[in-house]
């Protein structure tokens, strides 16, 4: 009896003791992506829909849904906007269309961009008076024109991702590589200050069903944030085609 009580006390002590605790993976929804990852111990997690921030003091690492990676993702966003319109929320739908962005549009020439939007704005320049039949056709036409945009090379996609992070934009790429993480092919970019090679930072991103999910060091010395970034990246499981799941 005494031995059993000791064993129970030991088990309870072990369960409460930090040395016996194991890091636990948690599920997060980042924009359109559904992921599981192990948050770093003693770092707080701020869940802001499309942007989750892992923060400790002045150090921060961001996990961000950067939106479409190519034309397919942009067309999917247009379908979502159309679904909103079909529910009768015309202005919300138009706002979603106006917010449409993606690498093929960013790297298109100004003439190509104007051509993409021409039919849409011809039909919807006055949202209150726009005819519903014309709006439906404009959605179709906009989708077709987006599909016809030239796909961007990988180097341009890297540039697009870096430009999404102001702290990385002024830096130079030190090295970049592809690495598999839990069944997904991530692109990892190490950056540093062009002049001094100080201010090292890291960004990794994956094309998840046409949308970009990116993990980036926002603030903090690389000596501390680097290993935390590495453990976060190593633990991220992105659900298959998670960006397709509503």
């Amino acid at each position: 009896m005494r031995r059993r009580a000791d064993a129970a006390a030991l088990a309870l002590l072990c369960a409460l003791s930090p040395c016996c605790s194991h890091p636990v993976a948690r599920a997060f929804t980042v924009g359109t992506h559904h992921v599981r990852l192990v948050p770093p111990a003693e770092w707080e997690v701020l869940e802001h829909d499309r942007e989750h921030v892992f923060r400790r003091g002045e150090m921060a690492i961001d996990l961000v849904d950067l939106g479409p990676a190519g034309a397919a993702g942009m067309v999917r966003d247009l379908h979502d906007a159309r679904a909103v319109w079909m529910k009768g929320r015309r202005l919300d739908a138009f706002a979603r269309v106006r917010a449409l962005r993606g690498p093929p549009l960013v790297f298109a020439t100004s003439d190509e961009r104007a051509e993409v939007w021409r039919e849409w704005y011809d039909a919807t320049y006055d949202p209150g008076r726009a005819d519903s039949a014309a709006i439906g056709l404009a959605f179709d036409e906009l989708g077709d024109r987006v599909r016809r945009l030239r796909p961007v090379p990988r180097a341009s996609l890297v540039e697009y991702v870096l430009e999404s992070f102001p702290q990385a934009e002024r830096n130079q790429i030190e090295q970049q590589s592809q690495r598999p993480v839990n069944g997904r092919q991530w692109t990892e970019v190490h950056t540093w200050n062009r002049i001094s090679h100080l201010g090292r930072s890291r960004i990794a991103f994956v094309d998840d069903g046409g949308h970009v999910l990116a993990l980036a060091i926002d603030r903090g010395p690389i000596e501390i944030t680097g290993p935390v970034f590495e453990s976060l990246l190593g633990s991220i499981e992105v659900k298959p085609d998670s960006s397709r799941t509503p």
Binding site: N171, Q172, I195, S196, H197
Partner: protein, 251 residues
């Protein structure tokens, strides 16, 4: 103990080489050990990096490129203008033409002055031909401007009088003692070295400067410190190499 100290010293002296893209000609070298704290260094027409010895009382090593001279080179600008010409409106093209002009004030040498005049004359013709709706002539004018730019490449002799130490131009001229000057070699390229002294309130410090030019881009390395740490500077100089310019990172 002595063996461990020697090993640690040997380990400290070798750091991986890093490639810096301060101008069109990249430069690679092994930075000093971490006890030399790194800082970005800009100003005075240069961009580079400075390594300050922690607790060294002002001892530092710097390596820098003279970007002010690199900006005088019109080759890249003209080649890009030729490549982009078809995608520019006339207004944009004329604006780009004006930006591509070479500096004619304060030339580094007679050769550079002649080159600048030749480039600008060709660009003047390109402007006239563009306004005269003669696109074929414009192409020829731009190519002439590029050829003129390619015929000149800045040399060490061109820049040396401008960049070497002139104590009378320093804030406290009495602190500098000019000693020896010599020709040397950095990674197979001719270089000029000066072995001077800087008199500080605490102690005199060696003040060594080395200047060289590679493919038209000018660089300098400076050492300000005690004789004991001079070998760190020598190790850095020995590690310098010039990777192919295609190595330059895109950002």
């Amino acid at each position: 103990m002595a063996c461990a100290a020697l090993l640690s010293c040997a380990r400290e002296s070798i750091t991986p080489a890093e490639t810096f893209d301060w101008c069109s000609q990249p430069i690679a070298f092994s930075p000093p050990p971490p006890r030399w704290q790194r800082q970005g260094d800009g100003g005075g027409g240069t961009i580079g990096v400075r390594f300050i010895l922690t607790g060294g009382g002002g001892q530092c090593i710097s390596v820098a490129a003279f970007t002010s001279f690199a900006e005088r080179d019109r080759k890249v600008m003209l080649a890009r203008l030729i490549a982009r010409r078809d995608s520019l409106t006339q207004r944009e093209f004329l604006h780009e033409l004006s930006l591509a002009r070479a500096r004619t004030d304060d030339p580094l040498s007679d050769r550079e002055a002649r080159t600048s005049l030749a480039i600008n004359a060709a660009l003047d013709r390109a402007t006239e031909d563009d306004l005269g709706a003669q696109p074929g002539f414009v192409t020829s004018d731009l190519e002439q401007a590029l050829r003129a730019a390619q015929e000149y490449e800045m040399t060490l002799a061109d820049v040396l009088p401008r960049v070497r130490l002139h104590p009378e131009e320093m804030q406290e001229p009495q602190r500098w003692r000019i000693a020896y000057e010599r020709d040397t070699v950095i990674a197979g390229h001719p270089a000029f070295a000066s072995d001077d002294t800087l008199i500080t309130p605490e102690r005199p410090l060696l003040y060594r400067e080395v200047f060289w030019v590679v493919h038209g881009d000018a660089f300098k390395a400076t050492y300000q410190g005690t004789p004991e740490n001079f070998k760190t500077f020598v190790t850095l100089l020995d590690s310098i190499s010039f990777p192919d310019s295609t190595h330059a990172a895109p950002r």
